[in-house]
Symmetry: C2
Subunit: 220 residues, 2 copies
């Protein structure tokens, strides 16, 4: 699959950068930020990172709203606390895109704890915040941003994909296969997203307690 | 570590059998059952399975209460629904053993769902049901019984161990290393057990939806 326009809302963050770098080989990437100047400044750096590896790419910076308007797929890669604000202002610019939620609501005291909203998960809340034509898919919660950003690493790991629209889910599973050694798993309906979202605080705690960083997960 | 007495309450079940077979190389195994005849009948079969591989073992069948009385470590491997009944009658026979909970409270409709008790997890409920001197550790929720029972398989997987007593936790982590290719992870206090218990329904759903059986987990 090539030639899609993938907007990454929160694309100047670490995980957003990683996905942009990994997908730019096959797709046009639209970096979105609340501050369009920040997005426009980030884009040339991403292009340069790929260029060093002999990969040509089209990566541009936009406001979140501009990025959403132009995109086939919109990845929401912002902290949970920013989701309602970001989607509130971008909502009128959505049509029937596929929206991919990477969002995990969690709190940290001594340990991280999953703190889902009343809907049951960030993905279900996102579905409520967006127009009904938008197909929300939940994925990539537990992929290490650090490993994604390092193009010399072949990140290993399994990606669980939840969603209620089969075509949208298949599309995201196919995008996952484009990132070498990532293996997509069908995680069932969007209502099951809480299970995979809850893995993020679990992996963070586990890493901290066992002196390991950037833990991902594989199903064996 | 060798020569401990490990009681397996629910030891005639599939996962109980698997742990008995794997630990019997180094330890004396006490199979516990509500029906002591069933436990006594199961034991020779386990001994025979090991004998075929040239491994001599001491495995005996008892009532749950007898097994608990005699044991250094007690593994609780019964369905969640039976825990309160089993521990209710065995409670007077506990002293200061280490108790290992494999228990996962879950319900199945279309998908499996984690359904923890008011305490927050099966492990925390178990702590409430036992004398305060007992040190409860939570582990082995996501190890495939089928793979454990097949001595020709080197099961691969990671085991997260939760508990409030460091020595008890270290003991269980050490027992985990005795099962080749199983790698123990410190999962933090017993209060974190819900995170690892919740993985069981998640893995069952994931396996069902992706046509894979007996999924375990590895942290990468």
């Amino acid at each position: 699959m090539t030639g899609m326009k993938i907007a990454i809302v929160g694309g100047t963050g670490f995980i957003g950068e990683g996905l942009a770098l990994r997908w730019a080989r096959n797709h046009e990437i639209l970096i979105g930020s609340r501050d369009p100047d920040k997005a426009r400044k980030a884009a040339p750096g991403y292009i340069e990172s790929l260029s060093c590896k002999g990969i040509s790419s089209i990566i541009k910076g936009y406001s979140n709203e501009e990025a959403v308007t132009r995109a086939d797929i919109v990845v929401i890669s912002v902290p949970y606390e920013s989701v309602a604000g970001v989607l509130g202002s971008a909502r009128p610019f959505f049509k029937d895109q596929i929206v991919v939620s990477l969002v995990v609501p969690m709190k940290k005291n001594e340990y991280y704890k999953y703190t889902p909203p009343p809907q049951g998960s960030a993905a279900l809340e996102m579905r409520d915040l967006l127009p009904p034509e938008v197909r929300v898919v939940s994925a990539y919660h537990n992929v290490s941003a650090k490993k994604l950003c390092n193009l010399d690493l072949e990140i290993e790991g399994d990606v669980v994909v939840c969603g209620d629209d089969d075509d949208a889910k298949k599309m995201v599973m196919s995008l996952t296969r484009e990132i070498r050694n990532l293996r997509p798993f069908d995680g069932g309906p969007l209502g099951s997203s809480y299970m995979i979202e809850a893995l993020t605080p679990f992996l963070l705690n586990l890493g901290k307690m066992n002196g390991m960083k950037d833990l991902g997960v594989k199903f064996v």
